[in-house]
Symmetry: C2
């Protein structure tokens, strides 16, 4: 839970000074590079020491059996686990025949930094070998955002204090030995040993290639490398290959201040269907193109891609430079996860680690896509098209479960349900509505009618059909959805979960509306007016439980009658509760792992009055322990809405610092994409007050005392809206486009090109801070600087007036 003391704070980069051998795996996740297709953990160039070696290709997995003590109908028989594929990052170095290994000799200096505008991971170190020879190593690494199959490293070694004989071994290594994961923690991925079966190995000149195939999933994986070598005139190069190993060795002698520079291009490709020569040719072609572009070309393309990205995506903060850094870190990693995933899933950890077996959950549609929708909508298009490709599997699953339409998997890589515990898996049917909501949001925000017609409509229709068959009308005509699990994983299999019912309502309505917009395509899907009427009727009759006595919404039927968890007698070491208490006890009591009813108030804010929101929020704050990383951001959003601005600020910081401060203790297994995206949501939907329930964006800006300014941009139907919030006012600027209609504090506003509109930023009345379970309060965010503190005082004064 300790902050990363060796990381320094800088608004545009993360820098690590020195090397903490006990937290290498965490740094490997933090500094991981990815374009959504290839993921490289920040393992050292020389391979060792490491925390957890990791090279991933989106969609490459192995099957493993899912066992059950007692089986049941419809239980999935196998799961899919992301695997560590051929490692191309390795460049080993021998200095006078001694391996360059930071555990031996003397490490004079070592630093790494990840720059969000460059998209490069740099490393610089000076090392004295056990025999006393000092060298300087510099490397820069990238995973190309422009050339999807390509990663590259520029590596140089320089003699400092005398002539040294240098050997560089640049390698491809398959089936690396992996350290075991933490015992019994279901969140860590099952480690799969030697999943790759060799098919081809080849090396000649400066090039090498390995092709493997997974045993059970039958996926062919090709990895290639090529090199540009610069150094003293006398350079020997040797190329060697074995089934799991490919090596280009370069030998020379360096005089002091002489350098040996190696540019390594790596390319990756995979296919479950294409032939061995086809897959091999594909990676060799990508290599050729990358070599043609060259290292300088690749870094220039990368910088240009990122320049454009930040123009639409930056979130600027004044008053809290650590939060500023954390938020840019978050935006950068969300970009990396989604940029080039292209009809593949965006996993919960992106491609930064093996956590959760590399599975995708509802996280993608609920937390990641809302952020990408307004800054990189093309990535959302791709992510939803991936869901579309899995529709046949989802229809099969629905049929197996006796339902109409499509049932999407709770956790998966390729589309098959991989959950081995149905009450917290298959029963979480809200995944269908989460997808439908993401579709509707994307279409509203982009106006991408072609997408709606070709992909979106069918997703909406099939999920609506599922809801219509899952729910039923009671004798009073209310539409009920029973025996399902909502977002909160400390409850399961309950009746009329408010979040689920409201999301299903949205889903049913969105499907009916889309069918009206695209009557021909809807007809082809068998939708007629009877069916759309049935959807509308079910939506209109949707039952939403309410506890009149307490004046709050129960999370699901009966929830508010349950015993309240004994928080007083739950010591800090018993969190997360799921590792110390049985599900049966968690499920039957009032204790909330993560925002559920509170999330309903965000995504379906229109279904609650302001008074209900305030009462519900206060009620659930006392019950919510945040054992999930998918909670703080949502609590931040609603805290801001109900006027608990400092609390919202604390939650925002928690969401943003989840990985930089390793708050969950499991950043080693990969970054928490939903929490990172959630930090952006906390700022934009929380302090920006953005709600996008309808065609017109709604803003209710307000700032906590700790922040002086918040500005962000939103891409809306190819127009770019800039929003700049200070305590004095909020300015809307149309940075691209002609005119945009929005609402500010409920009032319609028209923003025209060249005419920024400034309106007052509401200061909500002071109120008592809501209470959390004892010991589960978020850390109070401290003022960051003298100037800020000064301004804080002033703000406090204003608020007290």
């Amino acid at each position: 839970m300790s902050p990363a003391d060796n990381f320094t704070i800088d608004p545009w980069q993360i820098t690590e000074h020195g090397l903490d051998p006990t937290s290498m795996a965490r740094a490997e996740s933090v500094f991981a590079l990815s374009n959504g297709h290839i993921g490289l953990r920040a393992n050292l160039d020389e391979g060792e020491p490491h925390g957890l070696p990791g090279t991933y290709l989106n969609g490459v997995f192995e099957l493993r059996p899912l066992p059950y003590g007692e089986g049941g109908y419809g239980y999935p028989e196998s799961s899919q686990s992301v695997i560590n594929i051929t490692n191309g990052k390795i460049i080993r170095l021998l200095v006078d025949d001694e391996p360059f290994d930071l555990r031996y000799g003397e490490l004079v200096s070592h630093s790494r930094w990840l720059d969000f505008r460059e998209g490069l991971l740099h490393r610089e170190c000076e090392w004295t070998s056990p025999a006393g020879r000092t060298i300087r190593v510099r490397s820069s690494r990238l995973v190309s955002l422009t050339q999807r199959a390509i990663a590259a490293v520029e590596y140089s070694v320089e003699a400092v204090d005398g002539p040294v004989r240098i050997v560089l071994q640049s390698e491809l290594v398959a089936n690396e030995q992996l350290p075991g994961g933490p015992e019994g923690d279901p969140r860590a991925a099952a480690v799969l040993e030697a999943p790759l079966q060799p098919e081809v190995h080849h090396a000649s000149g400066t090039k090498g290639v390995l092709v493997h195939r997974t045993r059970f999933s039958g996926i062919r994986v090709a990895a290639g490398m090529d090199h540009v070598i610069e150094g003293p005139e006398r350079l020997d190069t040797v190329a060697e290959a074995e089934s799991d190993h490919c090596r280009i060795s370069v030998t020379t002698v360096l005089e002091p201040e002489q350098r040996l520079r190696l540019v390594k291009f790596m390319s990756y490709g995979w296919s479950g269907t294409r032939s061995l020569p086809a897959v091999r040719d594909q990676v060799e072609a990508a290599l050729t193109a990358a070599r043609y572009t060259g290292w300088d070309g690749l870094i220039a393309e990368q910088a240009e891609f990122l320049r454009e990205f930040w123009e639409t995506s930056d979130i600027e903060i004044e008053g809290d430079v650590e939060l500023q850094q954390a938020v840019r870190f978050a935006v950068f990693h969300v970009l990396q996860a989604g940029a080039r995933s292209e009809e593949r899933a965006i996993p919960a950890k992106g491609l930064t680690g093996p956590g959760y077996d590399g599975h995708s959950f509802w996280d993608t549609e609920t937390f990641v896509l809302p952020v990408l929708t307004y800054c990189l909508p093309g990535a959302v298009n791709q992510a939803l098209r991936w869901r579309y490709t899995t529709l046949p599997l989802a229809r099969e699953r629905a049929a197996q479960l006796g339902l109409a339409g499509a049932v999407f998997p709770w956790r998966t890589i390729r589309g098959e349900e991989c959950s081995g515990y149905w009450p917290a898996g298959t029963a979480a049917f809200h995944i269908g509505a989460d997808i439908a909501t993401a579709v509707a949001r994307y279409v509203r925000a982009t106006g991408d009618e072609e997408f709606e017609r070709e992909y979106g409509l069918e997703l909406l229709v099939e999920t609506a059909r599922m809801w219509r068959s899952l729910g039923h009308h009671d004798s009073a005509g209310k539409f009920r959805i029973e025996g399902v699990t909502g977002p909160d994983e400390y409850s399961a299999v309950a009746d009329n979960n408010v979040f689920t019912n409201l999301m299903a309502q949205t889903n049913l309505r969105a499907a009916a509306e889309a069918a009206v917009r695209h009557p021909r395509e809807a007809g082809e899907l068998g939708v007629d007016t009877e069916e759309t009427a049935a959807w509308r009727d079910a939506a209109a009759a949707m039952y939403v439980p309410y506890d009149e006595d307490l004046g709050v919404h129960p999370q699901a039927d009966g929830f508010t009658h349950h015993q309240v968890w004994d928080f007083e007698d739950t010591p800090p070491e018993k969190y997360p509760l799921l590792l110390h208490y049985p599900y049966f006890d968690l499920y039957r009591k009032q204790v909330v792992k993560q925002a559920d009813l509170v999330l309903a108030m965000q995504v379906r804010g229109d279904a609650f009055t302001d008074e209900q929101k305030a009462r519900n929020f206060a009620y659930y704050e006392r019950l919510t322990v945040r054992d999930s990383s998918l909670s703080a951001c949502t609590q931040a959003v609603i805290a801001a809405e109900v006027g608990q601005l400092d609390l919202a600020y604390d939650y925002t910081a928690e969401a943003a610092l989840m990985d930089l401060h390793d708050l969950g203790g499991n950043t080693r297994d990969g970054l928490h994409m939903a929490s990172l995206a959630g930090a952006c949501i906390a700022l934009v939907a929380g302090f920006g007050g953005l709600r996008d329930h309808s065609e017109v964006l709604d803003f209710r800006p307000r700032l906590p005392s700790g922040l002086m300014k918040l500005s962000f941009s939103l891409l809306v139907r190819d127009q770019l809206l800039g929003v700049r919030i200070t305590h004095d006012g909020t300015t809307y600027t149309l940075r691209r486009g002609e005119v945009l209609h929005l609402r500010h504090d409920g009032e319609p506003v028209q923003v025209k090109a060249g005419s920024p509109v400034t309106l007052p930023t509401t200061v909500p009345p002071a109120q008592e801070r809501c209470a959390q379970p004892p010991g589960r309060e978020p850390a109070r965010r401290q003022p960051q600087a003298g100037l800020v503190a000064g301004k804080l005082g002033q703000q406090d004064h204003l608020a007290a007036e």
Copy 2:
């Protein structure tokens, strides 16, 4: 589902004519012999052909890992599986060097019969070998009810048509190869291969012994055999032993009509703690004693034991000879399961097969013990003392689950929880109250104060403590029990299951009352008056949900609001539903696997009005599919109570014929002890109307038109009450004892020795038969004979008056 056509109907025995090779396993269960300690499936003497070889020792099991696709806190890591131990039944026969095997040669005749008064399984067959030699084989087998460690066989072979050379090989065989069970059916036991590791093998003279030990559970098992051989003068005997195999061979030549007779004594012993010599000596001592008693002595003891047993336990029926046979079959097997289990569990299948892994469930306390309480109370004492011995494990489990007191396992052999699916296992907390109720019933029926003081009190106290900590008071002061699973396995993890809450109420009250009766012992258990007051208060405040709109009790909160299962569109081949529909769908709809609310109306009849009973019964009849064998008997009892006598008769027959007609299709894995005991309950509590909620037994006798007479006996505090019911009247006779108070149709009655009391048998008003889900109606019981049909007509006439 077809009746066993090769079984003939006889009131005191089951006879099988011929041999149906397709249903051998079923016959092996039906003809299984056991004394509760040793169980022998009715495999043929010569070992093959077989359905499923089986020799069991109560308490001997092997551990197997319980795997989970996704683990969770408190999940059991291993399960216990009953194992097929050393088979001592085998006597192979060679006829002129051809093995006697019914699959070859010609089977002239073959019959087996099990006599309930003798406790012997007889076999007679005539066989012509492929070479044309005819022999006659007769055998009789017993598992001694008087000498717990002993089984024996009398085997004779006779030459029919010419001199034959005979070799008999009498064997002990360990680690027999077993055929695989039906794939994917969770009800069939996992087959464990070669679980026995050899320790000792020895043979000499006519004796042999094998000692083995299980690998993981560390249980030592010893099996011994000795023989008495009679035949022609020239007899050769050879003794041989290997690690898994022990053989005594006898050779002779038989002239026509000459016989070779072998009496084989087998003894078994096991221990998890005692030394190898100790366990071996124990079986050799038992062998010596059995040989001393001799075959004739053993069968005489067996007959005497059974004569005494039937005197107190017979249920006599007039008008339905098949039902008469089935009920005696049921009583006999319940006896076999419980007679000598002695501080071991009574498994759901007794010792008749490996079904349910040999586990004990709530079946024992809820169905088997209520029958044994009134005919063999010593067996109940032993069974509950077994539960007592597991209290330390149950306290540990409670602590692990964060509860006070003791949590007994849903399924187990030794006492550890072996359920791999907590919603249908651990969550079924009612097991605690089932045990407590059995304790209270036993104490009421026997007056065994010593048992209550030494064992019963602690069981009551620790289960009451569990309930007090599991439930909680709501703001209105009602005591609620949430997130638990009741008897019906098509619902799970619901709030305020009526059965559970009422049983917990009984449990809490019984504990408070017992603590008052035994203040010193209660004090030693830490019980003070505050605690007993808290139990009484919780019991008094117990919440029992009721649906005012429908005028019925929901099985649990919200049940009656759920969607009704689509029975119309569920074809017959989709039953049992659990093999064709996911739990999630079953749980969230109104569909009932087995009596739950209806069982509550039996065991807590005092908590419902007559009108509620009638309405509830009709309501749940329409929802109950009887995919469990633990349902028909309960439905029979309440059907009788609400006046649906013919329906009650049909359910009684279904419960009684469960195994003889193989109604569940799984009799091969062992007999359904709860259903067999349930048949007795259906008659005594259904048509006899017996309720034992209080000190005074309550009778409300009534007969269906198909039965002319029903009589049974009850042992109550060492007095023996005979009850004889005809349509004309009910006669109570005190066959042992001085005076007994009871109630007949609610009116107090005093029965004195020598003065039988006859009172009218109520004829309830004719009413419309309750409906069941389409296709799930019980088979209508047909009139059995001309005479009966004649009487039926008369009865119909009377009923219509």
